[in-house]
Amino acid sequence: MSTRITRTALGLSAGFLIWAAHFTLIYALTAVTCSRGYIGVGTLRTSLFAATVVALILTFAVLPRALKPRSGRTLSFLGETGALVAGLAMIGILWNAVPVLFLPVCR
């Protein structure tokens, strides 16, 4: 039974987990680059965009799984909610990339 609830929890939160991973990654990359400078500012900007694109693709990939037809109201409810979560997560990921467009890095 525990695998079923684990799968349910993962299915519901997949979008947000990707959002969280993306958020942690871009924040950590910026912090390390600005105080240690292992990579250049240009490289940082590119990696931040790349991370965003990858995160968006991953979140999008959640949708077909979430929306595939299922038997029973409970399962389709959970699937559709998971899809909505992925949608909201995509907005969050996109918004997180907006500052990279407008702000100077490390100042």
């Binding site: 907005i91 918004w95 907006v98 500052p99 407008f102 702000l103 100077p104 100042r107």
Partner: protein, 321 residues
């Protein structure tokens, strides 16, 4: 804080308002704030209106707001559009505020419990002029404030010129501000820093470039000689009471660095970091009962001094202009 202080505080002319901007940074933030306040008011009115409609079964418009589609439109689509616009606008404003150009002046301000140490730096970062609780700047120029903390966290904030920035032990923060018009702008520590956090103000005196040059010429160099015998006696008392262990008066034997530099203390707007306006009376009061006026600060009360001695000392201090 004693009754006397409260009375004196009553005479304070100052401007410490973010709503009365006097520099480009504060202007930009004020505009952003105004737009958000107006937008927020409109949205609040909309929500109130929708709620009223929702609660009146008679109104026909009620049918529009009954379904999940309304929730999606107002709860998701509407904020996504408005907030994206706001986010971009806010970031553009931010970019304008953090973009740095070469500053005209570099001033190191250190937050201490509970006053501000102000050092004007030269191109190499050496201190050329030391003062406290008061910063003179020329208008129309970018001024770089190098913010440090000596003990706990403080926050440097002069609302009329721009936003605040914290002073954190072990870190150096850089804030660039410009004053657009001449005037005296009050600032106050914004991060709670202990017992006398409430009494930790500073004044930024923005002068025209010419006036600033005159002020600068007046201010560098050694302290003024005591103008008369009474003040000279005050200078001796300053030495015999050990004031020089904590305070510097340039050109004299007083070279202490624990408290504020007193070389021009008589010319400063306030003593005690915004506690009292500077004059002979308040200086005497501060020397004799600083622990009563601002409990917990590091200056002991010299409450055993005789009246005439106290007056002589205060006269000397007031003559340091």
């Amino acid at each position: 804080m004693g009754q006397t202080a409260a009375e004196h505080l009553a005479n304070w002319p100052a401007a410490q308002s973010a709503l009365a901007p006097a520099g480009p940074g504060a202007f930009a933030i004020d505009r952003l704030g105004t737009i958000m306040i107006l937008g927020g008011a409109i949205i609040l009115a909309l929500v109130v209106m929708l709620t009223i409609v929702a609660l009146r079964p008679g109104i026909r418009a009620r049918r529009i707001i009954q379904g999940p589609r309304f929730v999606v439109a107002m709860g998701i689509a509407f904020p996504v559009i408005t907030l994206t616009a706001l986010l971009i606008y806010g970031l553009v404003v931010t970019r304008g505020l953090v973009a740095s150009e070469a500053p005209r002046l570099r001033i190191e301000v250190t937050g201490e419990q509970w006053w501000w140490r102000v050092n004007y730096l030269d191109a190499d970062g050496a201190v050329v002029l030391s003062t406290a609780n008061e910063v003179h700047i020329p208008i129309g120029h970018q001024i770089e404030f190098i913010l440090k903390a000596a003990d706990v966290i403080h926050s440097f904030w002069v609302p009329a010129l721009g936003g605040k920035l914290d002073m954190i032990p072990g870190r150096i923060n850089i804030l660039q501000l410009t004053a657009a018009k001449a005037g005296v702008y009050r600032g106050q520590c914004a991060e709670f820093c202990g017992a006398q956090h409430a009494i930790m103000s500073l004044h930024v005196v923005a002068l025209s470039p010419d006036e600033f040059e005159r002020w600068w010429a007046r201010s560098v160099g050694a302290a003024a000689e005591p103008p008369n015998d009474f003040a000279r006696r005050g200078q001796q008392l300053f030495g015999t009471h050990g004031c020089g262990a904590c305070h510097t008066v340039r050109g004299t034997e007083a070279i202490g660095e624990i408290g504020p530099d007193l070389t021009r203390v008589g010319s400063r707007t306030s003593i005690g970091a915004g506690l009292l306006p500077t004059n002979v009376g308040t200086l005497a009061g501060w020397v004799s009962s600083s622990q009563h006026l601002k409990p917990g600060n590091r200056m002991p009360s010299f409450d055993r001094m005789e009246g005439p001695d106290l007056r002589a000392l205060a006269t000397y201090l007031a003559s340091l202009r």
